[in-house]
Amino acid sequence: MNEINQVRKPPVATTGIIGWFRINLFFNWTNSLITLFVIYCLYQFIPWILDWTIFSADFKYNYLGEQITNQEMCSRNLDPENGGACWAVIYVRFYQFIYGFYPKVEVWRVNVAYVMLAVALLPLLYTQLPYRKYFLYFTYIFPVIAYFLLNGGLGFTEVSTNKWGGLLVTLVLGCTGIALAFPIGIMLALGRRSKLPVISMMCTLFIEFIRGVPLITLLFFGMVMLPLFLPEGIDMDGLVRVLVAVTLFQSAYMAEVIRGGLQAIPPGQYEAAKSLGMSYWRMNLLIVLPQAIRISIPPIVNTSIGLFKDTTLVIIVGILDLLGIGRGTLADTNWLGLSYEIYFFVSLVFFIFTFGMSRYSLYLEKKLKTGINMGAD
């Protein structure tokens, strides 16, 4: 009797590390062959890439111990056999990558803005933040502070936007585009679902038009056509023109995402709100939108990732963002031919931001347990 009641342990080969290896890597002979092949490829590739990026690479000094000031001093140009990546170009040009051509005396303003941005984002990203309400007040006034800090005015000397560049421009475009597109997107989504045929038709046409053309044509529109539309004397800043295009583009995508959220709200919610005598705006602001936005946050983050990547397109109309500074550096005879290092660095910066955002959206999705996927890019 006792023997029957005793629980037999599973065989060693199916549990623990050995079991894990057997099940996940060597389940049958094809599986084992694949594993061995992949390991062989990785064995060929990983040491080489590690050597190139880290062990044989120059960070500030070349292998002779000299401080690198141009590409001719890079180990990989002095000794093509053994030299690795020449990260010195990033070291030397780091200021431009982060601030563009912002005057050095005024650069503390950009740093303050970067820190304030992090503080302003905190209550949006982390809802359990203590004193979140007060932080949110700061978030609302942050755009105004940032405008005066970066652009000048209120006692700060003016720094023209054509001196901005690098990560600064990338972040300004990304954050402003997303922040402005959010309210416009909500209005467009409500408009598209409106019962008034004219308004619904106009919103639908706008959204479908923007979604049907590439961003680059909208950027051209902002650069080439917008000045023609404005009366004489109103001269629009290049960065503002690009921002108009980026915002229009993003708001159409945002509208579709929010519309998806609106459609997921059961009609009972509308009916209940109406039966309490609420007006259209009260119903939407107090009942429908809070629920709709809550469930569409993950796809909103996803479209925001798309926009953040798409801000690189501004280099085509001559705005120097992170990628633009990279290309500018490559065109400099001092740093000619270091394209892999520069593109690797720019990719890495973008990867850190976008991968962080996508992890955050996954975390939200898990937290909200909605699992609505709009197929947004």
């Binding site: 008034l196 049907g212 044509t217 004489e232 990732i305 397109l313 280099i315 085509i316 996508s358 197929g375």
Partner: protein, 387 residues
């Protein structure tokens, strides 16, 4: 108060009031914009109208595989070359991205942990780095290839250098049209056979070897015809003359960079869509089909894929649309597509920004609508049919 504004509480009145207000404001804005624009154009001496389309372009286009282009040709021809180049890179990109995406999506679900992790790393890197950066990176790799004199040879027929890929150009002789007609006829008849076989199987249960008979029709018959007609196909090989190759078919690095970047970037998105689609098919379906004795390959083909496709196709459509729109980034590497050729160089030469941009935008809109239209038809054909 309420009685005075009583008519304002009337829903019908309010609806008409607000709509008229919006239309009025819109018309006012439009009037203002048109007015200032025509004033601005007049001041800058820019003529309006479409006559510029017939003016000679005055520049060369380096990559025009379908139409012969000379600098004396008109701007209208620049437009057509641009549209064809846009379509070329979009269609080839969509096909490659779909194949690669499906393979990667299935591999990502492989039981081999190492393999699926590897695909995961690829997907994350490819999705999270801007496409424009990837295009520029591929281009910078391609133009660092050896120069023409030291070009890499593959099988003595393909030459790879920093000017692109040179391959033999097929020359179709007179009899070849019969072969192509035979291929088209074979495609149509195998499609009809497939329909007939399905109908017969539904009614009688008898199976017909559709796959092997289609292969026979499509490959064997045209091949026999090809040899009967005395092989009416020859190849013009690229030859080194002076500083460059003469003859042959050349695929420019701009196109290769665009093609690689677009298909690799989009494949990462498609693989995630495919993975989600296959995972959406419930485990019970697989177990039930195994229980009635279906083979593993049949389970995939008859049970899993048809159900997964219902989930896959709508987001796949938006990926195709994205790829087509993203092909406009060719301007960054000088690929002569619609935006670079017509919306870029022609626009700068003629100064007719409004006309050029309107044409470019309208073209993209129609391409997008066409893709949506056909994908919607396909989507409807694979959805559940309620009997």
């Amino acid at each position: 108060m309420r009685s005075k504004l009583g008519f304002f509480s009337d829903e019908k009145f309010r609806s008409i009031f607000f709509q008229t207000l919006v239309v009025g404001l819109f018309a006012l804005g439009l009037f203002f914009v048109i007015n200032t624009t025509s004033y601005n154009l007049e001041k800058r001496n820019i003529a309006t109208g479409w006559s510029f389309l017939n003016n000679p372009a005055g520049f060369d286009i380096s990559f025009s595989p379908f139409l012969e282009f000379k600098s004396t040709d008109t701007h209208l021809k620049v437009y057509f070359v641009g549209v064809l180049n846009t379509l070329l890179v979009s269609v080839t990109g969509c096909i490659a991205a779909t194949i690669l995406g499906f393979i990667l999506g299935i591999v990502r679900l492989s039981s081999n942990w190492l393999l699926s992790r590897l695909v995961y790393i690829y997907v994350e890197f490819s999705r999270n780095v801007p496409l424009l950066l990837q295009i520029i990176l591929w281009y910078s790799i391609l133009i660092q290839l050896p120069r023409v004199k030291q070009s890499l040879q593959i099988l003595d027929v393909f030459y790879i250098s920093n000017r692109g890929l040179y391959s033999p150009r097929p020359i179709f002789e007179s009899g070849f049209s019969y072969v192509s007609i035979a291929i088209v006829l074979a495609l149509i008849s195998s499609f009809l056979i497939k329909r007939w076989a399905k109908k017969r199987q539904d009614t009688t249960g008898q199976q017909f070897p559709v796959f092997s008979s289609s292969i026979g029709l499509i490959f064997v018959i045209p091949l026999i015809l090809f040899f009967i007609l005395g092989s009416p196909l020859s190849f013009e090989h690229p030859e080194m003359k002076g500083f460059n190759f003469k003859g042959g078919l050349v695929i420019r690095p701009e196109f290769i960079a665009m093609f690689l970047a677009l298909s690799i970037y989009t494949a990462a998105f498609i693989s995630e869509i495919v993975r989600a689609g296959i995972m959406s098919v419930s485990k019970g379906q697989r177990e039930a089909s195994a229980a009635i004795g279906l083979k593993q390959t049949w389970i995939m083909r008859l049970i899993i894929i048809p159900q997964a496709l219902r989930v896959i196709v709508p987001p796949l459509t938006s990926q195709y649309l994205n790829l087509t729109k993203n092909s406009s980034l060719g301007i960054a590497v000088g690929y002569a597509d619609l935006v670079h050729g017509f919306g870029g160089i022609s626009l700068n030469q003629t100064g007719q920004a409004i006309e050029c941009m309107a044409i470019v935008m309208a073209t993209y809109l129609s391409i997008s609508l066409t893709i949506s239209f056909f994908m919607n038809i396909y989507n409807r054909s694979i959805q559940f049919k309620e009997k």
